[in-house]
């Protein structure tokens, strides 16, 4: 196709080019329809996939970023702030990865330290104070498993967020846009509505980590991804998320603007509905949503 583009313009050329493009679209559509859980994991990690700040740039205007947890530092692997989503002022919290090496390192590959979770909570508490809904964008391999992270209590930071988000008195809409990696994802993932992009994944441990534990062999990640049911469709079937947002052919990175707009439309629909609910009803609904999760049995099954 690139070769064809080099030829002088002619009706025959544009006809051939259009035919090629159509064919390419069809092929990529088919390929992306048939992605395995492991392939989806790789797509979810694609560096050209839209990140939190890309969503902010397209979906919000007049965004102001809040920095720091007021206790120790600012953690660039989580961004937080306020902006206008259409006419509506909202708070945003989200994991942020980097694209080039320098930015990847600065953002710690999207792996937050405790300060990141504490900053997110600070902004969410402000959202509650000023009655602004919260949009959360989830995309992390997991919380950072480092010495400093442990020393400053990454467990406590995530635990506190789960506790506080479960009863934060404003609507929360969370979207898994890439990797939903374990507790590090859930740390900003308690919400009234949880959405997932079609090729994003959400799991309790990375497929590599799971394979290393189960089979003592990281290279069996492919099997682990299948066994753990990490895809958006699986999460929907298990009752963990509310809906799956279709991605453009070739995945979100092939046409980021289309993907971001699709996410924006879905968020807007839920936000309208949630904002109309009285707070008590909103919080009861959030409690019941997580209360139902799990598969177990016993004579006392009926609560």
């Amino acid at each position: 196709m690139t070769e064809l583009e080099g030829y002088p313009d002619s009706p025959a050329k544009s006809r051939d080019l259009a035919r090629f493009q159509e064919k390419l679209l069809k092929v990529s559509k088919e390929i992306y329809k048939g992605l395995t859980p492991w392939q989806k994991t790789l797509v979810a990690r694609h560096p050209a996939r839209p990140f939190c700040l890309d969503y902010v740039r397209v979906l919000l205007h007049d965004f102001v970023e809040w920095r720091g947890d007021r206790a120790f530092a600012d953690d660039p692997s989580i961004v937080a702030g306020f902006g206008f989503f259409g006419d509506r002022p909202v708070a945003v919290v989200g994991h942020q990865k980097g694209r080039d090496t320098k930015e990847k390192i600065r953002r710690n590959f999207g792996m937050p330290r405790p300060e990141g979770y504490r900053k997110a909570l600070r902004v969410m508490k402000l959202a509650e104070k000023f009655r602004r809904p919260v949009l959360s964008f989830i995309d992390t391999p997991g919380a950072y498993p480092g010495l400093d992270s442990e020393e400053r209590g990454v467990s406590e930071a995530i635990a506190r967020n789960l506790y506080e988000m479960s009863r934060l008195a404003v609507p929360i809409v969370a979207t898994v846009t890439g990797e939903g990696g374990s507790g590090g994802a859930l740390g900003i993932g308690i919400a009234d509505v949880v959405l997932m992009l079609e090729h994003s994944v959400y799991s309790v441990i990375s497929p590599e980590g799971c394979a290393a534990i189960l089979w003592k062999d990281q290279s069996r990640a492919k099997e682990a991804a299948e066994a753990m049911k990490v895809t958006a469709a699986d999460c929907k079937a298990l009752g963990v998320i509310d809906s799956v947002i279709p991605e453009p052919p070739g995945g979100a990175h092939a046409d980021p603007f289309v993907a971001i707009e699709a996410v924006g439309r879905e968020i807007a629909a839920h936000l309208g509905r949630l904002s109309a609910l009285p707070v008590e009803k909103l919080l009861d609904g959030r409690y019941e949503k997580f209360r139902r999760m799990g598969v177990w049995d016993g004579a006392a099954a009926a609560r």
């Binding site: 498993p145 980590g209 066994a227 209360r291």
Partner: protein, 280 residues
């Protein structure tokens, strides 16, 4: 996460697991002295020479904490389903059955109601002997019901942790139990009812990153391993050897994440005092 093969060697040693092994004698993990098993049992599984705390079975824990060793167990018939039809080297279903035979309970948790130094309370204990105390749907459900019962009866909740974290055989549903239990504990807190977390060796992963760190007061047994990532994962990440005592109870006190390290023999008394200080 359930770092089954990532815990340090000492933790996997059968001598520190719920079972003390077959022999009449064993070597203490703490001081290397040879101990008489019967004597160790009589001493709440604490080494009489160096105070090393061996792991205590969940039922012994309940007897230790409740007045007159009397209590009523709750929700004992709740067992995990197999939502993913999970299979690794063996079927998850078969694994559950094996552990049930081994431990005599359907999953890694036991809940009970009774009085602690005169104060009525729900005490729920994670059982490390059952799949490393890992949290799946059944554990999450029993913990949630424990919190809801404490709320309904307006009595305090105590959770004793010992767990490798979320149970990956139940995939994302096990992760969600962190949210479910946290929400129930938050409701309890909003109604002014105390929640006490007692951390025992080992407490890691998703259990630490949820209810283990949500106590109104957090107690820990001496030298218990308490952390988010397992020590080996951290060493692989930072390519350094971890300092002595890292992620142990005393380290968490020094860094401000645990209130008090309590000897096993003192736990009931300390817990009783705290409950009276906060409730009713």
């Amino acid at each position: 996460m359930w770092f089954r093969n990532k815990t340090p060697r000492a933790i996997r040693n059968p001598k520190t697991s719920a079972s003390l092994g077959e022999g009449l004698f064993l070597k203490c993990e703490g001081c290397r002295e040879t101990l008489y098993v019967k004597e160790l049992e009589r001493n709440l599984r604490v080494c009489p020479k160096c105070e090393f705390h061996f792991r205590l079975p969940a039922d012994d824990r309940l007897r230790l904490l409740f007045d007159g060793e009397k209590y009523q167990t709750l929700f004992g018939d709740i067992r995990s389903g197999d939502p993913l039809k999970f299979r690794d080297t063996k079927k998850y279903r078969d694994r559950l059955k094996e552990y049930e035979v081994r431990t005599g309970r359907p999953d890694a948790v036991v809940a009970a109601r009774g009085t602690v130094e005169g104060t009525p309370a729900v005490v729920t204990v994670l059982d490390y002997a059952f799949m490393g105390g890992s949290m799946g749907s059944a554990v999450g459900e029993v913990l949630t019901r424990s919190a809801e019962l404490a709320l309904a009866e307006r009595i305090p909740l105590v959770i004793v942790t010992a767990s490798g974290g979320a149970r990956m055989q139940e995939g994302i549903l096990s992760l969600m139990q962190m949210g479910k239990v946290s929400a129930a504990i938050a409701r309890l807190g909003k109604q002014g009812l105390p929640y006490v977390a007692i951390l025992t060796d080992p407490t890691t992963g998703g259990v630490t990153a949820s209810f283990a760190m949500q106590g109104d007061v957090t107690l820990a047994e001496p030298k218990a391993l308490v952390g988010f990532a397992g020590p080996r994962v951290i060493e692989q990440t930072i390519r350094q050897t971890l300092p002595e005592g890292f992620q142990r109870s005393e380290f968490l006190v020094d860094h401000g994440f645990v209130d008090l390290v309590v000897q096993r023999s003192e736990m009931k008394k300390t817990l009783g005092t705290i409950l009276k200080l906060l409730h009713p």
